[in-house]
């Protein structure tokens, strides 16, 4: 809402005209400009940008490591690099991408920036804690980077015992310490979100008026709180095991390595939903905005978010079917894993129903969102193969698994991240990016991604195991195809980094609401003032109040 106090409906506003700035206080980006004002800020919007800059750096590191892996696999005999280098490359890729990019990616950046705006609050409940969480994150990152600089780690991102405790001769300890520390930053972020969403909503902003983005972040935050401490304990035991030979995970002393896997996956399976749920929130914002249509089945999507966050705690054993757990456990975990498909499908059906008979605009964010839906469906359905006990015996720890989770993590989370980045870029920076370049790179990423990872489904089904530096020569064609796809994907990633940065200085000034979208974050200026709203925002009658509203059940927005 502009400082002049004029209240215009969205329909009357010319969407592409920047608002008058005379007499308005400087926005959060220009309020102060010293380094100190950035590194000691308690403004959730600035902290979000600190996170955005850091995770972009980690994304580049992780992507480079992936490039090394794909390079090594161009030839079947492992001639390009030593096996040790290969092991370290895929470990760095996994550790950095999972813990330093995917987990904080959407929550710590978009969540941090948008949750207070979306609920009409001035800031998160604990601004200093928010800043602390970024410093904790960077401290953990420092430890992990030190382990990489000293010579790397070769255990894979899962740190399975006893490889990580008794056999690996690499820098496992600093990496473990780094990952342990980073967990605390997740916990602090999740705690802040839970408290903020419960207590800081503007008057009239009831739970069923919240955007789905806020719902999914609430669900994610609960997982942060309930799952992260368990992996902290598992990693503490692993550190003690490696440093002092505690023995609880070491079969040499009668310990049980499977116990580590239980504790590890009690966190790391829900962590999949830490990575996926926020992306679902992003898609739930983009799809209605570009279909000009109210989100179909709002309540079901909201409940499905909480449903996913709960069900995900009952299925971790499906990572361990052939690792020696009891048949009873495998049976129970397998059966429950199928339940995950229900809330996931609820979401996908509701997005497609929103698109159906909408008035579509295929701008960059929507291209990413459409890509997301397709790839998430493929990734999700292959998950059902893996949850099936008998098929799992065949494809466990093969490239089928690698392809499956990359369809979820990259096809899902990274596409949602990029879609959200383009969607809210005008709000974050006050600038418009180049739309043609945006579309070109969205399409490049979609194509490059599929060329990279679809062959891996076939490779895995034919029996190529993951994490091996060599493979039989008959797999070379598909591996070369996969590596070629990775170069397309890389080009698709490089373009946004260039044109988005370019837009910071040379982009067109963004209006408050360039997409004519609904939601309180579009009611304030772009970029927003330091305390988010000049005057208290008016909470809309219903969420997603777009022109096209399919008639659903009457009481959907009681």
């Amino acid at each position: 809402m502009s400082a002049s106090g004029t209240i215009e409906g969205a329909a009357h506003r010319e969407p592409h005209a920047p608002e008058a700035t005379i007499g308005r206080k400087p926005d959060y980006l220009h309020a102060e400009s010293t380094l100190r004002s950035w590194f000691f800020t308690t403004d959730h919007k600035r902290i979000a940008l600190l996170y955005l800059a850091s995770i972009t750096g980690f994304f580049v590191i992780g992507a480079l490591a992936a490039g090394v892996v794909r390079l090594a696999l161009v030839v079947p005999n492992g001639a390009i690099m030593t096996n040790d280098t290969y092991n370290k490359a895929f470990t760095i890729h996994g550790v950095v991408m999972v813990w330093f990019f995917l987990i904080p990616s959407i929550p710590a950046t978009f969540g941090n920036f948008l949750i207070p705006l979306m609920i009409g609050a001035k800031d998160l409940a604990f601004p200093k804690l928010n800043l602390t969480s970024w410093y904790v994150f960077m401290t953990g990152a420092l430890f992990t980077l030190v382990s990489v600089v000293l010579g790397g780690v070769d255990t894979g991102w899962t740190f399975y015992a006893p490889l990580s405790t008794a056999f690996s001769n690499t820098w496992v300890l600093p990496a473990l310490i780094g990952v342990t520390i980073v967990g605390f930053s997740s916990i602090l972020t999740g705690l802040n979100f839970v408290v903020t969403i419960h207590t800081m909503r503007a008057p009239g902003m009831t739970w069923f008026k919240l955007p789905i983005f806020v719902w999914t972040h609430y669900a994610t935050s609960l997982i942060f709180l309930l799952a992260t401490p368990v992996i902290t304990t598992a990693l503490i035991l692993l550190i003690a095991e490696r440093a002092f030979h505690v023995g609880v995970f070491d079969p040499a002393y009668g310990g049980d390595p499977v116990l580590f896997q239980h504790l590890f996956w009690f966190y790391s399976h829900p962590a999949v939903y830490i990575m996926v749920l926020p992306g679902m929130g992003v898609i739930s914002e983009i799809v209605p905005a570009f279909a000009r249509k109210k989100l179909f089945g709002y309540r079901f999507v909201a409940y499905a978010s909480i449903g996913l966050a709960s069900v995900t705690f009952f299925v971790w054993g499906h990572h361990m079917f052939i690792n020696g757990q009891s048949d009873l456990a495998s049976l129970v975990f397998s059966a429950l894993s199928f339940a995950v498909a229900v809330p996931s499908a609820v979401k996908v059906y509701n997005w497609t129903a929103t698109i159906h008979k909408g008035s579509l605009r295929l701008d960059t964010p929507m291209l990413y969102a459409m890509g997301y839906i397709g790839l998430f469906v493929l990734g999700g359905l292959t998950g059902l193969y893996l949850a099936t006990l008998a098929i799992n015996q065949h494809i466990h720890a093969t490239y089928f698994v690698v392809a499956h989770f990359h369809y979820i993590m990259v096809g899902g989370t990274v596409l949602a991240f990029l879609g959200g980045l383009h969607f809210w870029w005008p709000k974050f920076t006050g600038r418009m990016y180049s739309e043609p370049w945006g579309r070109v790179s969205a399409i490049l990423i979609f194509l490059g991604f599929n060329v990279t990872f679809f062959p891996q489904f076939i490779l895995g089904y034919l029996g190529m195991p993951r994490r091996y530096a060599t493979y039989p020569p008959e797999f070379q064609l598909l591996n070369v195809l996969s590596s070629a796809g990775a170069t397309i994907l890389a080009a698709g990633y490089i373009f946004p980094m260039l044109y988005l940065v370019y837009s910071l200085w040379f982009g067109r000034k963004a209006p408050a609401n360039p997409w004519d979208a609904k939601g309180l974050e579009w009611e304030t200026s772009s970029p927003p003032p330091t305390l988010n709203f000049v005057s208290p925002p008016e909470v809309p009658r219903i969420p997603y109040d777009y022109p096209i509203q399919a008639t659903e059940s009457k009481d959907q927005h009681r």
């Binding site: 309930l226 009891s326 456990a329």
Partner: protein, 103 residues
């Protein structure tokens, strides 16, 4: 200057007594329950005494949560959060035991 006790007015004494009643009673209850557990642990009177010991521990934990930490007086949201963690511990233990009790 509120201490020592001799300088307190009768009104202050009454307030002190009323305010300290609950913490002191809680304290005594916790000590009594601990005494039961220590006795059982030291004497091991019969097999499977651990079941009773765990029951006593549950009582102690409930006392601290409900009375010392005043969960009983809190709004429903806080009550929900105080129970949420325990519920999740049950999920963790229960699902892990499907493995260890099924081997």
């Amino acid at each position: 200057m509120r201490t020592p006790l001799s300088t307190l007015t009768p009104a202050d004494r009454a307030q002190l007594k009323q305010r300290m009643r609950k913490p002191v009673l809680t304290f005594l209850a916790l000590l009594a329950l601990l005494a039961v557990n220590v006795t059982l642990g030291a004497t091991l009177p019969f097999a499977h005494v651990w079941a009773i010991e765990l029951g006593v521990v549950a009582l102690m934990a409930a006392t601290i949560l409900l009375v010392s930490m005043e969960v009983i007086e809190e709004p429903p949201l806080i009550r929900l959060f105080s129970g949420l963690g325990f519920f999740w511990v049950c999920i963790m233990v229960g699902m892990t035991l499907t493995d260890y009790l099924g081997r």
